[in-house]
């Protein structure tokens, strides 16, 4: 670990040196304004091979769909958008040199973020050294926002701990007679999965809902009857799972086998998977889940995105694609509003604009705090009538939330 950190520091130091040299070299040159038919070049480094190649390619498709849709409408500021994508091979050292090349050598007009938290931080650091706006589609972990970046914006509705905000608000807003009084939590020992459950836990505890079970399990756990027995025996009013996929499914089935009937059951990730209903059949009714993106979201640009994306790629977009598209939308909104897209002073104006404004996107309106953390929350979906439907917030809902949930 320490060697990796050291390496990273070296890379940063090296990056800073190169940056200084590059700036020195540039300052003599002319920063001539681009002519109107020059394309706006968007520089991106993505993991197209290696550990993150699956989501990396998803993000790439999202960016490609965005460029295509923008260009079909005549581009930005009358200029076509062109993507310049480099493959970082899922390697954090590589991502640094990629962004240095894009900004310093290739002189791209704007940059947008790579995939995965691990790569977002070093990439954002390079962009910051060059004073570039850095909107990114991945990197929801809280460390990203603890680095003191002034140029970074996460283009998604919320970080993990805020996923359940709409649900917390709903639960705490229930009349005293209906409001649950006890809650059980089971979370995977993973910053993302645990973050979702603990975000809700913190808010419910502050609202006076007592925690009766708080279990954390290692990521490889497959046997959940023990945890389920504890939860069932506590007779908690509600159960919250900070889950990914198989753990969520196995825990839900284990709870059902013990005839535990909570008033509310919320699990992250698992219930939104297409495989969920195939796994547990008609026992899904009433289960809640937060979601960062759904093809059904009624935001106008989303309807267009889903339609055109499906025509372009043959399948509807998923969350990775949508996050990349959202990133593009944020950058496009800033460029259109400020009226420029090049390196130099323009970037400062773009950063200021994004910080001060709300952008309409495929995941709803987005705005950010000083650290670049989005101020929103995830939509809450519920299995109602054999389908997963948006129930919260009120202005995006497809169905009314069912509480207490029917027996499963």
């Amino acid at each position: 670990m320490s060697t990796r950190l050291t390496k990273k520091r070296w890379a940063t130091a090296l990056g800073a040196t190169v940056a200084t040299l590059a700036l020195a070299a540039c300052s003599g040159g002319e920063q001539g304004s681009a002519s109107t038919d020059d394309p706006i070049v968007v520089g991106i480094s993505l993991p197209l091979t290696g550990d993150f190649s699956e989501p990396g390619k998803g993000v790439q498709r999202g960016y490609q769909a965005w460029a295509k849709i923008v260009n079909e409408k005549g581009g930005l500021l009358g200029r076509p958008v062109e993507l310049k994508i480099l493959d970082d091979q899922s390697n954090a050292d590589r991502v640094v040199s990629d962004y240095e090349q894009l900004i310093g050598q290739d002189q791209v007009d704007v940059v947008v973020g790579p995939f995965s938290t691990r790569l977002v931080v070093p990439a954002a650091r390079v962009a910051e050294e060059y004073g570039m706006l850095f909107v990114e589609p991945a990197g929801a972990a809280k460390e990203v926002f603890e680095q003191g970046f002034k140029n970074l914006f996460y283009a998604a509705p919320a970080v993990a701990n805020d996923h359940y905000n709409h649900l917390a608000e709903y639960i705490l807003g229930l009349p005293a007679g209906q409001r649950p009084t006890t809650a059980a939590y089971a979370a995977m020992d993973d910053p993302f999965a645990q973050g979702t459950a603990y975000g809700l836990k913190e808010k419910l505890e502050a609202g006076g809902i007592r925690t009766v079970v708080d279990e954390v399990y290692p990521p490889n756990t497959t046997e959940f009857s023990g945890i389920a027995a504890k939860i069932a025996s506590s007779k908690a009013d509600i159960v919250v799972g900070g889950s990914q996929y198989q753990d969520g499914v196995n825990l839900i089935v284990a709870l059902q086998q013990l005839a535990y009937q909570p008033k509310l059951a919320a699990f992250s990730t698992a219930p939104t998977s297409p495989e969920f209903a195939a796994a547990i059949g008609n026992k899904t009714e009433g289960i809640l889940a937060p979601t960062g993106y759904t093809q059904q979201a009624p935001y106008p640009s989303n309807v267009e995105f889903v339609e055109k994306y499906t025509t372009q790629f043959g399948t509807p977009p998923e969350e990775d694609e949508a996050n990349a598209y959202t990133t593009g939308q944020v950058v496009a909104a800033a460029i259109t509003a400020v009226g420029c897209a090049e390196q130099g002073d323009c970037q400062r104006k773009l950063i200021e604009w994004v910080r001060g404004n709300t952008v309409e996107t495929v995941v709803g309106p987005l705005s950010w705090d000083a650290t670049g953390k989005p101020k929103g929350a995830h939509m809450i979906q519920q299995w109602v009538g054999g389908e997963i439907q948006i129930v919260l917030p009120g202005d995006a809902k497809e169905a009314d939330i069912v509480y207490p949930k029917p027996a499963w």
Binding site: V216, P218, S225, G226, I227, Q257
Partner: protein, 295 residues
């Protein structure tokens, strides 16, 4: 805070879990007994059987238990072929060590083929009775866990009777106890060992099906199982089927009960603590099986 009901429920769950562990570990201890083979691929075969049960259920709509009609003979044949064609060719002097490498490769191949055929998507058999349960003095017993336990009991009983009451069983036990002496009295030890290996793999077909009833499966799931199963057969005494069964019950029960005061991480650790204690204080195992002493 801990109620009697929770303890009783945990005991019930622990016994059911122990039964499943016993079934999953029985083949593993048998291979070791027969030919000193450390069969890393055993759990990969379990997952393969689970996938076949899932596939026949989704594809043809048949109850996963029916897939046993095909998978048990299939796995028996595969076991015989594996032993005759590959494992028996290893040099006796380095057999135990080399079998680890060979079966490791087989495990990786099975995992790769499963991923290729069924993708990495995590699957679960959707059963009408998947969450059905019976009540017993306030504790709930899931029907699928009871079926898995029943399968385990039936398979282990069959194995026991086969080893103790049939001529083939005597020949197999003679091969386990002293191959040279067995050959002297006219036992074709090579053939017996092949069949013994086939029986071991046939238990994997039963175990995998039992596992599929109540687990979400994915190609790499076998790595999660091989550690605890190895621990069980060492604690039970390498080569002893009743020993493995007893160790499995004790460890399953302990794991389930430790879950109450501790958490999942520590409850899982019980396998490795038991393994460590066995190796340190009683390398021949706690429940019979004197084989280990000979190494």
């Amino acid at each position: 805070m801990t109620s009697g009901a929770l303890i009783f429920q945990s005991v019930v769950l622990g016994l059911l879990l122990g039964g499943l562990y016993a079934l999953l570990a029985s083949g593993l201890t048998l291979y070791f007994g027969i030919m000193r083979v450390v069969m890393i691929a055993h759990s990969a075969f379990l997952i393969l059987a689970a996938y076949l049960a899932w596939w026949s259920h989704t594809r043809f709509g048949v109850d996963p238990l029916l897939s046993l009609v095909v998978t048990v003979p299939l796995f028996f044949a595969a076991g015989v072929l594996l032993q005759r064609g590959l494992l028996s060719r290893l040099r006796p002097a380095t057999l135990t060590m080399m079998s680890v490498l060979l079966t490791f490769a087989i495990a990786v191949i099975i995992e790769g083929l499963l991923g290729y055929a069924f993708t990495g998507t995590q699957r679960r058999i959707q059963l009408g009775y998947g969450t059905a349960n019976l009540e017993l003095f306030g504790a709930r017993i899931a029907v699928v866990k009871l079926i898995a336990f029943g399968l385990a009991a039936a398979a282990l009983l069959t194995l026991y009777l086969l080893l103790k009451r049939t001529t083939f069983g005597w020949a197999l036990r003679a091969t386990i106890q002293h191959p040279d002496a067995a050959r002297l009295v006219g036992i074709d030890t090579n053939r017996v060992a092949g069949h013994g290996f086939g029986i071991g793999l046939a238990t994997a077909a039963v175990g995998g099906t039992a596992l599929a009833l109540d687990t979400t499966i994915y190609p790499s799931l076998h790595w999660h199982w091989i550690g605890p199963l190895m621990a069980i057969i060492v604690v039970g005494g390498l080569g002893s089927v009743p020993g493995a069964a007893a160790a499995a019950m004790v460890l399953g029960l302990t794991q389930s009960l430790l879950q109450i005061p501790l958490n999942t991480t520590w409850a899982q650790t019980v396998f490795y603590l038991a393994l460590l204690a066995t190796l340190a204080f009683r390398p021949q195992g706690f429940f019979g099986g004197r084989l280990a002493q000979r190494f």
